[in-house]
Amino acid sequence: MKTWAKILSVVLLVYTIVAGFLFTVPRLNIVNESIRSLYFHVPMWFGMIALFTVSLVYSILYLNKPSFKRDTYAVEFVHAGILLNLLGLTTGMIWANYTWGSPWHGDPKQNGAAIALLIYLAYFVLRGSIENEDQKARLSAVYNIFAYAAMIPLLFIIPRMTSSMHPGNGGNPGFNAYDLDSNMRLVFYPAVLGWGLLGTWIATLRVRVRLLNDRLLNLNNE
């Protein structure tokens, strides 16, 4: 990742944290100050979807033309996506604790996110149980694509069909209703970019470590 992107990520996140906690936000019933969760919780899901999509693209590329590098990219973007998923779940649970009264409320979106986590944990179980490196890479690429296809209805269709208390669902005010003053947009969009860049940074760092380890292994063998 380019240096300017890393600096941009840090600057945007510092801005998100400072502005996210200090700027004025609309006063709404029940939600109150917890609306600030929009700057942290929502961008993490955007980032997670973006990272999983990048991993999906690398899996498709891998099946097209296998290489160790592509497999490494696919795996590490899943790792970073899982991190953002866990963070998103945690921030969501903190928010739900104050707004809904309990951290786990059985909301369709919450369940969907938990199942998405299970899908990608199963991906690592699959990787762990195959010994042949090439076969491991190919089969896990296949499962990655398959799981992504199965995840789409889970995250985007079913929550919209069932009643839900999550903002943006079932008549609850969503993002558009919140930012009557467009102040929130000023923080929200930089936050999305910042968290996304942070995820990519983590993923690319891990990719570099793995590629270097692989090179070291090859050098030792020679």
């Binding site: 179980v125 089969l139 398959f146 296809a149 209805p153 889970l154 069909m161």
Partner: protein, 218 residues
């Protein structure tokens, strides 16, 4: 070729009846355990309890049924199939066969549950259609995963782990429709769910169809 492979699956199955009767017994035992665990307190089986017991039973028997479609195959026989048929034919024939098997299994499951527990459903036709669509969804997603799991170690554990997250979206919708059938709601209420179920089936089947050649090649 597709038809021949399908008929081959059917003949093989009928020839070694131990497997198919084993599956039937598995289903019967599970239904019987459900019955025994409630024994005299039949009135405590609310429609919701009935539906969850039913689908848990069906889910696990179906996973066990489909798992054997690739996991049990011998190495040499696979190479033989590889040389005579295209991967698409093999996948589709197995899918079709599993669809048939699962449909029969779910229908038997329904009969057993109606017999041992009771039958809280009011709209039988709709529930029948739902069962068929669920069977289609299970067969299209699980056949592919069985092929995937067969290549790895500890196939049986892996099969359950891999399939759970993938079939859950089918299961969630099916449970919702079942509830509608039990409550006797108007059919038009369930149509959007049925269409979503069909769409998910198409999505999963298309993904399996595209991805299967990559698994089969190894």
């Amino acid at each position: 070729m597709l038809l021949q492979l399908f008929l081959k699956e059917l003949t093989l199955e009928l020839r070694r009846k131990a497997v198919i009767s084993g599956l039937a017994l598995y289903l019967f035992s599970t239904a019987f355990i459900c019955y025994l665990s409630f024994s005299l307190k039949q009135n405590q089986i609310t429609p919701l309890v009935w539906s969850s017991l039913f689908w848990v039973t069906i889910l696990f028997s179906v996973i066990n049924t489909v798992a054997k479609s690739f996991i049990g195959e011998k190495k040499g026989r696979e190479i033989y199939y590889y040389s005579i048929a295209s991967p698409a034919d093999i996948l589709l024939s197995k899918m079709l066969y599993n669809f048939l098997l699962i449909s029969i299994l779910t229908l038997i499951g329904w009969l057993l549950f109606a017999l041992l527990l009771h039958n809280p459903l009011t709209d039988h036709t709709l529930f029948g259609v739902t069962l068929l669509l669920a069977a289609l969804g299970f067969s299209s997603s699980l056949t592919m995963l069985s092929a995937l799991a067969a290549k790895a170690n500890h196939s049986n554990i892996l099969m359950a782990v891999l399939s759970f997250p993938v079939v859950i979206s089918v299961l969630l919708i099916v449970i919702k429709i079942t509830k509608n059938c039990i409550d006797g709601l108007d059919r038009s209420v369930s149509y959007p769910d049925l269409i979503t179920l069909l769409a998910i089936n198409c999505l999963v089947a298309a993904a399996s169809y595209l991805l299967f050649p990559y698994i089969w090649r190894s």
